[in-house]
């Protein structure tokens, strides 16, 4: 709740910055605000407060809010250039902060109305930011596709909510859960409602076969916006997905388990296999982000007391790794005007620091020890294994082997290909953050207990 209020006020301050001409101060104000929000949010730990019967800041919500805030902080530093364009500076700040408000709502809702509003508050700024590069046709295309497909998915979600309401007479998650486990026969429209909500959520996490928007949108949108979508939006969407299906709808798990099983298998295979064929790094990372949604679906499917912490760990490891890769792709594509794999040729000679950080991040995304990504996959597979989904674990292992191939293609390009010799200038604050991220990835991998023991 504190996070919600603080972030909305920050957004309003950002709106007013231009009018009261403190534009220059806005960047430090927002960074400070994010730190304050993070600290205040941690005070909610173990309090388990319920606000207005709409939001519950249990440890699950606090932990996911913390992850989102940390990633947002890193994102703000790496996306500094995005906030340099004079005329739209305050708009960018305000939209990102409002999107964060939506993300916080999505991790803490206890009411369908809040879920819907959270998704919309997160999505609408994203639709706009995807098209924020107004003169670029592919950015416009990305915004348009995202808006149309997103609106369609929201339609499914709303229809699902309406049917669930029709069957149970409530928007409140605990009341719906009570109706599910109440023993009386549920109306058949309830099951359709659950499946329609599943479709809506699967779209938001870009799980196959609802992933078709992701590659085009991720490629067309400005790289920093893509980074935001791949990390914060995905984390928030998964937190919302898990919150709904692991508790409220767990009583009717036989309705959706099969569907999610097929979706997870499809997502893993489609994401990883298609990623192999990409030549653009942005598009490759987009498919890899689809594939990572598949791994997280595994934990959702397991639905044991292990899966919450597994998803929390996976989301943080994946988000931090992705932020680093997108930051470096952004730097390289700005310098070389190309986001192809060739642009990375010989990076280890021209910019050894970038190459090392990129390698660590890619190793983490591929799931190689001792990085965070390895333990993330390990925990996910363990929770799926304990739930008895051995077939799916096998598919996931094969899929991650395919994943290793395309991540290594980039590493090979960096270390074993000839460069065109030009050193890319990197700003010092980017350097510092990238090093911190690299250390964090390894540290998370060496001491996974700090996060895994939280929930």
């Amino acid at each position: 709740m504190k996070a919600l209020i603080l972030l909305s006020s920050l957004g309003v301050i950002a709106l007013l910055a231009e009018i009261f001409s403190f534009k220059k101060l806005l960047y430090p104000i927002v960074l400070l605000g994010l730190i304050t929000t993070f600290v205040l949010n941690m005070f909610d730990w173990d309090t388990n407060k319920l606000y207005f019967k709409m939001m519950q800041f249990d440890n699950y919500a606090v932990a996911f809010t913390a992850v989102i805030l940390v990633v947002a902080f890193l994102w703000f530093i790496m996306a500094e250039g995005f906030f340099k364009e004079e005329s739209n500076l305050t708009d960018h700040f305000a939209l990102v902060l409002f999107a964060l408000v939506g993300a916080v709502m999505m991790v803490s809702y206890t009411n369908m109305a809040m879920l819907f509003l959270g998704i919309e508050i997160l999505s609408i700024p994203m639709y706009i930011l995807a098209g924020s590069n107004k003169t670029d046709v592919s950015s416009n295309e990305a915004a348009f596709k995202y808006l149309i497909m997103g609106a369609f998915a929201t339609g499914f979600l709303l229809f699902g909510i309406a049917l669930v309401y029709g069957a149970t007479g409530s928007f409140d998650l605990s009341e719906i859960a009570a109706a599910v486990s109440g023993g009386t026969a549920l109306s058949s429209i309830f099951y359709v409602g659950v499946l329609l909500m599943l479709v809506g959520m699967a779209f938001k996490v870009s799980a196959a076969p609802f992933h078709f928007w992701a590659p085009d949108v991720y490629q067309g949108a400005p790289t920093v916006v893509t980074a935001f979508m791949a990390t914060i939006v995905k984390t928030a969407a998964f937190a919302a997905f898990l919150r709904l299906f692991s508790t409220t709808f767990s009583g009717v798990s036989e309705t959706w388990m099969q569907t999610v099983w097929v979706m997870a298998a499809l997502t893993l295979l489609v994401g990883n296999i298609t990623a192999v064929m990409q030549t653009s790094t942005k598009r490759m990372l987009a498919y890899s982000s689809v594939a990572h949604a598949g791994y997280m679906l595994l934990a959702l499917l397991a639905a044991n007391n292990y899966s919450n912490s597994a998803i929390l760990y996976y989301a943080s490891a994946y988000s931090i790794g992705s932020i680093a890769t997108f930051a470096i792709v952004n730097i390289i594509s700005d310098a070389k005007n190309s986001d192809g794999v060739d642009a990375f040729n010989g990076l280890s000679k021209t910019n050894p620091m970038l190459a090392i950080v990129m390698t660590i991040a890619l190793l983490s995304l591929a799931g190689i020890p001792p990085t965070a990504g390895f333990f993330a996959k390990y925990f996910i597979f363990t929770s799926a294994f304990m739930a008895g989904n051995i077939g799916l674990v096998l598919i996931a292992i094969i899929a991650s082997l395919i994943g290793v191939y395309y991540y290594f293609r980039l590493i090979i390009a960096m270390y074993f290909k000839e460069s065109d010799g030009q050193t890319i200038a990197v700003e010092s604050n980017h350097k510092i953050v990238l090093v911190i991220i690299a250390i964090a990835i390894v540290a998370l991998g060496l001491f996974p207990d700090y996060i895994i023991g939280l929930l």
């Binding site: 957004g11 005329s87 739209n88 708009d91 939209l95 409002f98 007479g169 058949s188 359709v192």
Partner: protein, 166 residues
């Protein structure tokens, strides 16, 4: 009993207009049929005794949002009368997907017929006083937060719609 007949009449009209939206070739006609469809749905709201919703539906949807739709269509260049050609596979898969959704919905509604009861239904629930009481007491937080939603839409409209001078 007159309401039952009205219900069937309105449902028939709503479905007919909705189909016309999809089938008319001219996008302007589509929008106008959509306005008519919205009017029939507003009629349904009145039948459900949700008069405020009916009025809002006409003011916001049939009035304001449909004007926006018309504007968007006028922003497009309508001189070219080319409809992008879609492959047979695409059409077939769309038909299969929407057909199965229809089957699922119809099936579930048929199954629901016996279970649904009106025992807890209060006919006054949709009246504006009760709506206000619920909105400003139980749903206070979503109400306040929706201002953020409107605000971000506002910022977005200005950002994308305004030429950046300076």
């Amino acid at each position: 009993m007159i309401t039952t007949y009205l219900f069937y009449l309105l449902s028939f009209l709503a479905i007919m207009f909705a189909l016309m939206v999809v089938f008319s070739k001219n996008p302007i006609h589509s929008v106008l049929y959509l306005v008519l469809a919205f009017f029939t749905i507003a009629g349904h709201y009145v039948l459900l005794n949700a008069q405020f919703l009916a009025a809002v539906h006409i003011i916001v949807y049939a009035g304001a949002i449909m004007v926006l739709f018309l504007f968007v269509i006028m922003l497009l260049n309508l001189n070219k009368e080319t409809e992008p050609h879609k492959s047979v596979w695409l059409k077939a898969s769309a038909a299969v997907a929407s057909g199965s959704l229809l089957v699922v919905l119809v099936g579930s509604l048929k199954g629901a017929a016996g279970i649904q009861s009106a025992k807890t239904f209060d006919a006054s629930i949709g009246l504006i006083e009760n709506l206000g009481q619920t909105l400003f007491n139980d749903f206070l937080l979503p109400f306040e937060v929706s201002s953020i939603l409107l605000l971000s839409a506002m910022v977005g409209a200005v950002m994308l719609g305004k030429k950046s001078i300076k």
